[in-house]
């Protein structure tokens, strides 16, 4: 089964979404991330969406759910690299990514999660 790779950097988990995910792939990622947070005792999750030119409510919910589960497991989630057109669309869609911190890029995202490295 195809999956999106999750990298570990110290206590930080890093995911770069580079494909147009179908719903099943997004759900698998959500499950994989939750599992890895527990397994690695991660304290931070960084999701890089700079390659996503579409974020719809399903993906948005996957991201929010991941952040919520991470929080329960005492980890912080940062989403980085949101494309401007995506940001504009999300606002109009009415999608507020609750519980999700956003940062401009990976460096800023890591420094936001800095204390976990």
């Amino acid at each position: 089964m195809e999956r999106i790779p999750i990298l570990r950097m110290g206590k930080l988990l890093l995911v770069t979404i580079q494909v147009d995910m179908h719903d099943q792939l997004a759900m698998t990622l959500q499950d994989d991330l939750t599992e890895r947070i527990v397994k690695e005792k991660a304290t931070g999750v960084l999701i890089d969406i700079s390659a996503l030119d579409i974020v719809d409510s399903f993906i948005g919910r996957m991201i929010s759910n991941t952040a919520a589960m991470a929080k329960i497991l005492d980890a912080k989630t940062v989403v980085v690299g949101m494309q401007p057109a995506v940001a504009i669309t999300l606002v109009e869609l009415g999608l507020t990514l609750d519980g999700v911190i956003t940062a401009l890029n990976v460096e800023r995202g890591i420094s936001l999660l800095g204390h976990t490295l």
């Binding site: 147009d20 995910m21 179908h22 719903d23 099943q24 030119d53 579409i54 974020v55 719809d56 409510s57 399903f58 948005g60 919910r61 494309q83 057109a85 995506v86 504009i88 669309t89 109009e92 869609l93 009415g94 999608l95």
Partner: protein
């Protein structure tokens, strides 16, 4: 008359099945190509593809599968695109409720229908209980 069967696509439409997850991904790609060929800018592309993604997912999840139609539109002062999402599923019991932000009958975020309406210039929905649902959205740009 829609609802009795899938709404038939007018001549010139590109028709795509919406029967599974991968179809939704394919549809997003197709819509992107069509929008680019009409000359829509990036923000409008993103809005319409996102709307299409929401509606296609509704067709799949609630409509039990159906079809998507993409039609290029042309009038004297403007050009545009029409996207149709049609199914012969159970239909929507209360359209106003379904169009309310946050209302979901399927554990989603409840933003798909209302969001698609906000993201497009024109929005139409026809539904009949037991017969099916058809949602039509359009976006225009100056010719």
């Amino acid at each position: 008359m829609y609802g009795e069967k899938l709404r038939s696509a007018p001549a010139g439409s590109v028709v795509l099945p919406i029967k599974n997850d991968e179809d939704v991904v394919r549809l997003r790609k197709l819509v992107r190509e069509q929008l680019i060929s009409i000359g829509f800018g990036l923000v409008d592309q993103t809005k319409m593809i996102t709307a299409a993604s929401e509606l296609a997912r509704n067709t799949l999840k609630y409509g039990k599968g159906g079809e998507g139609h993409v039609l290029k539109l042309k009038e004297s002062t403007k050009v545009g695109v029409e996207l149709v999402f049609t199914d012969d599923g159970p239909g929507i019991v209360d359209i106003d409720l379904a169009l309310t932000d946050g209302y979901t009958s399927g554990g989603g975020l409840g933003l798909g229908l209302s969001g698609a309406k906000r993201l497009s210039d024109e929005f139409n929905i026809e539904t009949e209980i037991g017969l099916g649902t058809t949602v039509i959205i359009r976006k225009w740009k100056a010719a």
